[in-house]
């Protein structure tokens, strides 16, 4: 059901909801920026820029907390129903997911000093293109949230396959490179982790899209056929949450 856009009789409710929407847009924008800055730092080997990304992650963490506090408070004080309730639940979940996206960007930035020796991405030359697509997914998922656009959310979820395909391709070429250049295995492993981080960012953008779909339609997003991923069994253990 499309949102009628009518205002609430209690105007303060609209104020809260608009403030939350603003903060979600901000946390989304900051995460997207963190990804592009981290990748630029990687490509240019800009240590200062990488440090900036790490430092700015604090702002994303703070925003997540502010969003969670206000969502919690709004649910308690306004007793939202129907699409309002769904939007607030979605907001609560989206803030957590986007904060994780910021963590992945920070994780990429932290690897910049380690990949110091070559100043090149070598076997992972597709990383910048992969990163562009992943960033776009983040941007579009939050655009879908701002517009309550279930169709765009569905599209984001489908486009995540492109990120997955990039990952599979980079994974193969980096493994081949490792076999051929055993002395560079350490550095190549970091490139692999970066690819994995970007792949996870794509997944999280899909999570945001799923929440948007739920908020807009009141039902879960239809399952996407993910196909087989040959690297599924080789995922790094989780636990780089920061």
């Amino acid at each position: 059901m499309p949102n009628s856009g009518a205002e609430h009789t209690v105007k303060a409710f609209d104020t809260d909801i608009n403030e939350l929407r603003g903060m979600v847009a901000e946390i989304g924008g900051r995460s997207e920026q963190a990804i592009s800055k981290a990748m630029r730092a990687l490509e240019k080997h800009d240590l200062k820029l990488a440090e900036e990304v790490v430092a700015e992650d604090k702002l994303i963490d703070d925003l997540e907390k502010r969003i969670d506090d206000l969502t919690f408070q709004t649910i308690a004080l306004r007793a939202p129903m129907a699409d309002d309730l769904r939007e607030l639940i979605a907001t609560f979940k989206i803030s957590g997911v986007v904060e994780r996206i910021g963590d992945y960007a920070k994780n990429i930035a932290k690897r910049v000093p380690v990949i110091a020796s070559t100043h090149k991405l070598g076997p992972a030359s597709l990383l910048p293109s992969m990163s562009n697509i992943a960033s776009q997914l983040v941007r579009d998922s939050l655009e879908a949230f701002a517009r309550r656009d279930a169709d765009l959310a569905l599209e984001v979820s489908e486009r995540d396959q492109i990120v997955d395909d990039f990952y599979t391709s980079i994974f193969r070429s980096v493994i081949t490179y490792m076999i051929e250049n055993p002395k560079d295995i350490g550095e190549a492993a970091h490139l692999l982790f970066i690819a994995k981080n970007l792949e996870r960012i794509g997944d999280h953008a899909t999570n945001v899209a799923e929440m948007v779909y739920f908020a807009a339609k009141g039902e879960p997003m239809p399952e996407r056929d993910r196909g087989e991923n040959p690297t599924d069994l080789l995922e790094e253990p989780s636990g780089d949450s920061e």
């Binding site: 059901m1 009628s4 009518a6 009789t9 129903m81 129907a82 309730l85 009141g218």
Partner: protein, 280 residues
């Protein structure tokens, strides 16, 4: 006085029942009351337009909607309380256990014992607590001895969650109780004549939150023993106590469904606007 137009003969209404059933019987469990194509007029003004709803035994049914939407008027059709309003005219089919409650042979006093009612303001009789409960069983001849009557009084007060608070002062006046206790006394009074359906018209609107919570808890406990229909302005209350919710607007039934669906994902835009506070 109230009249039931003959326009909906039983054969017509049964075909109507079949076609309308999926939309209006949002219930599981045995049907207690059915209403089909009910119109209510106050003089020239039509207060209810073509409403069809099923009330089931196992679910608490809540009627919600803005003031003047017709929810109380409709509730009052279910035990012919509108008969007391001279200019009111009710048409359509309303049955209780398959019996047409507007049929000429229907005994209205008997009907109101089977379909009890609790009102917005607690209205105990200016009599003792005991006599408030015993009044109904006495006039309906439900007790053959003092012991039996005592038993009905005690059971009714227990079911209404009031026994523990009043068992030592059954001869005190019912009107001396607190508002919440008076309302539970009225519920006990309705229960005492062993009804099948209990209608509640804004039963908590005059009560504080604690007394309200007690009534809501009582509704939970009574669910299944009686078919319960509640009219409420408080949407949170409808969400808390009912399993089925009907939303009325300007005399029409906009949406009727499972309460959790109505409050998380209503089908109709009007329902959504009302429950999210965007109405008017």
């Amino acid at each position: 006085m109230t009249e039931l137009l003959d326009s909906t003969s039983s054969s017509e209404s049964s075909t109507m029942t079949d076609s309308a059933a999926s939309a209006i019987s949002a219930g599981d469990g045995p049907l207690k009351m059915t209403t089909r194509n009910v119109d209510v007029f106050y003089g020239e003004k039509q207060a209810i337009k073509d409403v069809s709803i099923d009330v089931t035994m196992d679910n608490v049914t809540a009627f919600i909607g803005p003031s003047g939407c017709g929810k109380s008027t409709f509730l009052r059709c279910l035990n012919r309380m509108n008969d007391t309003i001279p200019i009111a005219k009710v048409t359509g089919d309303i049955t209780l256990e398959g019996e047409d409650i507007y049929a000429p042979q229907m005994d209205v006093v008997q009907l109101r014992a089977r379909v009890g009612m609790v009102f917005q303001k607690p209205n105990p009789f200016p009599k003792s607590i005991y006599d408030n409960i015993a009044y109904g069983p006495r006039i309906h001849g439900l007790a053959s001895s003092k012991d039996e009557l005592d038993n009905i009084v005690e059971t009714s007060l227990q079911r209404a969650g009031l026994w523990g608070e009043v068992q030592d002062r059954l001869q005190d006046s019912g009107t001396a109780l607190s508002g919440g206790q008076q309302q539970r006394l009225c519920i006990a009074r309705a229960i005492a004549v062993d009804p099948e359906v209990i209608l509640m018209d804004e039963p908590c609107s005059a009560l504080d939150p604690i007394a309200t919570a007690k009534i809501e808890e009582l509704i939970h406990e009574l669910r299944g023993k009686y078919a319960i229909v509640i009219v409420t302005h408080n949407m949170q209350q409808a969400a808390r106590v009912s399993q089925r919710t009907a939303f009325f607007h300007l005399g029409t039934l906009v949406e009727y469904g499972v309460t959790s669906d109505i409050f998380t994902n209503p089908t109709e835009e009007k329902t959504r606007d009302y429950i999210t506070g965007r109405y008017g």
